[in-house]
Symmetry: C2
Subunit: 462 residues, 2 copies
């Protein structure tokens, strides 16, 4: 029996899947500062029109241009692997499959959208992309993509990460990107913050403001901004993960998975794996789809569904989503990619519909699971990915209790080779669990009542 | 056209190839302190007898036990990739293939032998392995292997790396190994050094002495030592690389490669890829086989072929090899894995026979080539691997000059994700080239004249 199910490049999906086409209730529109729906042309200074068209599209299938397939095949199709050694260790009747997105050169699923975004920008005549990055995962994925298609890349990296985690910064330099610490002196947003707080460690909110400012103020009109998660077109590009996985499960003789699992921060790796299966669920398939988030940032499990800003600086349109409030600052857990106050609107709407079950995990359990995985399968996963691993182990143990031959599928969204300090902190006993107090959630979400309400019909029929 | 040529697990080679069976002139034996050939039982306190048997074997093919195939398939077969984007960039008629050994969980070819060694030790009743490591590549590969087969693992890591490069140390901890800084207070060798030089940065030579001492002084007899390169059985285990590559080239419709390239420090990744092709060359095939080493440590290109110790502390048997002298300390280039004074005797004998052409490269050219590779193929290679990349680019440009449709194959021995400080140093202009002065070589090799001479018949018929 093969434990790795591989596809040829010629078997790569030729279309992305758009869940917006199949959701029982239409998505609530993003709103502008006036409370009215944002029109596509209002986004034009920020994104190129070809991506804005994808953002608002309700077409079910969107063709993947051959040139993007040519970029993706540097590492795709990614392997689907069966965790036979973990199964044996757990003594479970469950079959555990995982989609290995760590094989991309930057080490995660992020390049699935960064190469697509870079290519569409290039097509539109754009010459330069700006973005923000926290620990550097998205910044390095965009740097990689810009180098491959021939765009300049400017990354505003949160200062504390810039100083403390130099490796991703070096990675971006290898791929030719210009990475600066944020707040920087290059933008009004940055200078304003620096005047007030010259020693600030920075924040993702400030970095977003800087990146957007540099994009929209470029008088040549040749600069745009790129975002690594949350938006509809990002979810779309990531669906290649689940579409490949479906083909691979078929090759493995699996009719359908019983449980599909992904960790969820902004939602993109989770959506990428799960949306094609959510489609099957809408069509009647019995599949449990689980989004796993940290207890310290429990957006889907404990936040209200409301209109909120995507960034702390309140510069983005309002989006209807589960949110802990745009001013919420999660504690500094090592799974930096899961520390987002909101969640992709497409994922949120599917949760509203009852198509996706969110679940929150503590970080100690996640690290423990990651070490179990490394000890059996041999692979060291990213701290974000450990949330999916922990849930997969729970589901496999549940299958053992129930004596059921379940098929569990999870997304191995990235490797942890750049995150070993988190493992060291865990193994040295320096980490602890943290549950967000209810009064904190109420404090940070109270201001949302002054924004337009997100009234959404919940069908809840699944 | 597929750019990645993949094999199923069922297509993995079932036997390793032993070049010792086919070398025109038999290997010179290792010698003891008395100048007489070392008998297998003299090595018994250091290595288990099943590995010693492989060390001295002249059988052409040695079966790979099913259990070892079961360990290897966690990441093997590794992909053979065609660097179509690099070819296009160079505008060369050459076809450039590379075997991607970076896909193993520790990130290099090293686990091909570490899992085999761990398994044979376990079979022999051993409970604990000791080893040394410089920057941590081999230490992490052995930690990984010991975890998978259920052995304790003790790694003596050169103190300066232990302090300055903590990530590989964390990696070893994830896989349950006990990693200590060398010199340590745990051995006589370590304590002796610490008494004289309490602030020493340590060296690979001291670490080897500590690891061997702990293995041979364990009164239970359940501890052995493991070495990551140089020895015959290590070369043997690595030949799975070249054997897979041959099958993959066949699938790609390539009759034979014209040039086979690997970087060479101790020789194992180079031997692993090239020996099966050296076998074809002995049988008459027209293949150029190139071992690339750094100009700063030019063992094969400028060292004499002589009997020398494998370690600086003179504790190993004498081996017939090209060497810069066991007391030679190469400058601190970033390609730490290529900083060895000697070279695997099997590789050396093949060089003596004229089967392999050694070549030396400067580090600036290697980093420049690595960045060209990252800019086209997208992958960031290890500093060691960059030597093979530089040579492959040279050969592709030569093919362009000659207008020849050559097939070039090189070993992508590991990724550079843990070595980004080297790239940063290069990009910041902090690195320079260094050619070893001839008088230094003469100084360090002069003492070899007091050791038994390595008189070897050079057939030179290729």
């Amino acid at each position: 029996m093969e434990t790795k199910i591989l596809l040829n490049e010629s078997e790569m999906p030729r279309q992305w899947y758009n869940l917006a086409a199949d959701l029982p209730t239409p998505m609530l529109p993003p709103l502008g500062p006036d409370g009215k729906p944002v029109s596509p042309d209002m986004l034009a200074p920020v994104f190129p029109m070809n991506l804005i068209e994808q953002e608002v599209s309700t077409d079910r299938w969107i063709d993947i241009p051959d040139e993007i397939l040519g970029l993706l095949r540097r590492w795709r199709p990614s392997p689907l692997k069966r965790a036979v050694n973990l199964e044996k260790y757990l003594d479970t009747p469950a079959k555990i499959y995982f989609k290995d997105e760590s094989v991309s050169p930057p080490g995660s699923h992020k390049p699935n959208t960064s190469v697509a975004q870079a290519w569409y920008n290039k097509q539109f005549g754009i010459e330069r992309l700006t973005t923000e990055t926290g620990a550097g995962q998205w910044g390095s994925a965009l740097a990689f993509a810009c180098k491959l298609v021939g765009l300049e890349c400017k990354v505003f990296m949160v200062r504390i990460s810039f100083d403390q985690k130099p490796f991703r910064k070096h990675m971006m330099s290898v791929w030719g990107a210009n990475c600066v610490a944020s707040p920087s002196t290059e933008t009004n947003a940055g200078r304003t913050v620096l005047e007030k707080m010259p020693d600030t460690p920075g924040s993702l909110g400030i970095a977003i403001s800087e990146a957007i400012e540099q994009a929209v103020t470029d008088k040549t009109g040749k600069t745009r901004y790129a975002l690594g998660s949350v938006l509809n077109h990002v979810m779309l590009h990531q669906t290649i993960i689940g579409l490949e996985a479906k083909k691979q499960l078929e090759i493995a003789g699996v009719d359908k998975p019983d449980v599909v699992i992904g960790c969820a921060g902004g939602g993109s790796n989770f959506a990428g794996l799960s949306f094609p299966f959510v489609n099957d669920k809408i069509a009647g398939a019995d599949i449990e789809v689980i989004a796993v988030e940290p207890e310290s940032c429990p957006t889907l499990t404990r936040g209200p569904f409301a209109y909120d800003f995507g960034d702390t600086a309140c510069t983005t349109p309002l989006m209807a989503m589960y949110t802990l409030g745009h001013a919420f600052v999660p504690p500094p857990i090592h799974a930096g990619g899961l520390r987002y106050h909101g969640m992709a609107p497409l994922v949120c709407q599917a949760v509203v519909e009852g198509l996706i079950n969110p679940r929150a995990y503590h970080q100690l359990k996640c690290y423990e699971s990651a070490i179990t995985f490394a000890s059996t399968e041999g692979m060291i996963c990213a701290p974000e990915t450990s949330h999916a691993v922990a849930c997969a182990i729970d589901e496999a143990l549940k299958a053992k209790e129930e004596g059921k031959e379940k098929v569990i599928l999870f997304n191995y969204s990235g490797h942890g080779l750049m995150d070993l300090t988190g493992y060291d902190a865990y193994m040295s006993g320096k980490l602890s669990d943290y549950s967000l107090p209810q009064d904190k959630i109420e404090e940070f979400t109270a201001p949302l009542q002054d924004l337009p309400p997100a009234e959404q019909h919940k069908t809840g029929k699944w």
